[in-house]
């Protein structure tokens, strides 16, 4: 079932599936790529079981500080993870401010498949509510940083390479 408010994304990544899975599900890896520079992800917790926590906290210049807890709904190790911001861990519903200041509800379905030659096909389906509570990017306050241009992303990659 697809809705006009769904997003579908697909990438073939030049990395083996076990590593792609680890990079997508381990806090120490997520912290390295989750936020666009100059924003950072100082905190991240992931519990890989239904009802588990998917928590990130992003901070940035001018006091930007945004944390969100999503609920893990489904895990097939190495193949599939589904989490939703509609709930926090333990299936407890999240509350959303009308101004979008603490995020907005969506469910993300991620799949990982071998694509041969040590590559991995990754897909993401992002489901949004189609009601008025589907909320604004603008209030999240870092639209500019979020839609990072390719140059800046290349720089991030170089930095990671230099640190390593």
């Amino acid at each position: 079932m697809t809705d006009k408010f769904d997003l579908h994304l697909e990438r073939t990544l030049d990395a083996p599936r076990d590593l792609v899975w680890k990079a997508w599900t381990s806090p120490e890896h997520i912290k390295r790529w989750w936020a666009p520079r100059p924003y950072q992800t100082p905190e991240c917790e992931v519990e890989l079981h239904p009802g588990g926590k998917f928590y990130t906290r992003m901070t940035g210049p001018d006091g930007f500080d945004f944390s969100g807890t999503a609920c893990v709904l489904e895990v097939v190790p190495g193949e599939r993870i589904v989490w939703s911001t509609t709930m926090k861990d333990g299936y407890r519903p999240n509350e959303f401010a009308n101004d979008g200041g603490n995020g907005f509800p969506f469910t993300a379905i991620h799949t990982f498949e071998d694509a041969g030659n040590g590559q991995t096909r990754y897909t993401a389906t992002v489901l949004h509510a189609n009601s008025k509570d589907r909320d604004a990017h603008a209030a999240m306050g870092f639209e500019g940083g979020w839609g990072t241009c390719a140059d800046q992303m290349a720089e991030v990659a170089r930095e990671i390479g230099a640190e390593a």
Binding site: A15, A136, A138, A139, A164
Partner: protein, 115 residues
């Protein structure tokens, strides 16, 4: 920014109703009087006025009264803002996946050079 978000909320609320979407579709072809807008719908004039009020509050349409006729027209900027919401969601995810791709590629190369 908070105001932007609130107006977007109102726009989505206004778009959630089939009568209002029908009115917007009609207005996309050009301005119309209130009675012209009411024609396709089997609803009372007060109901039509309610829907118009919701559309005006959302910023999606504006109206002027001249004599006894109120003419309604589309505010294209507000509609464009609502439409671009999903486009921006996509851009965010694409940007995040770009970062993810750069990252997994870099650690894969590290692993390979370790061997």
């Amino acid at each position: 920014m908070l105001n932007d978000s609130a107006s977007l909320n109102r726009a989505f609320a206004a778009l959630a109703d089939p009568v209002r979407r029908g009115m917007l579709a009609r207005l996309s072809r050009g301005p119309a009087s209130v009675s012209e807008l009411a024609v396709p719908f089997q609803i009372s004039l007060p109901a039509v006025m309610q829907h118009l009020k919701a559309l005006e509050t959302s910023g999606l349409v504006a109206s002027q009264k001249k004599g006894r006729v109120r003419t309604v027209h589309l505010e294209r900027d507000a509609l464009a803002e609502a439409e671009s919401w999903l486009t921006r969601r996509r851009e965010e995810w694409e940007a995040r996946l770009d970062r993810f791709e750069d990252y997994v590629t870099s650690i894969t190369q590290e692993n390979a050079s370790d061997r």
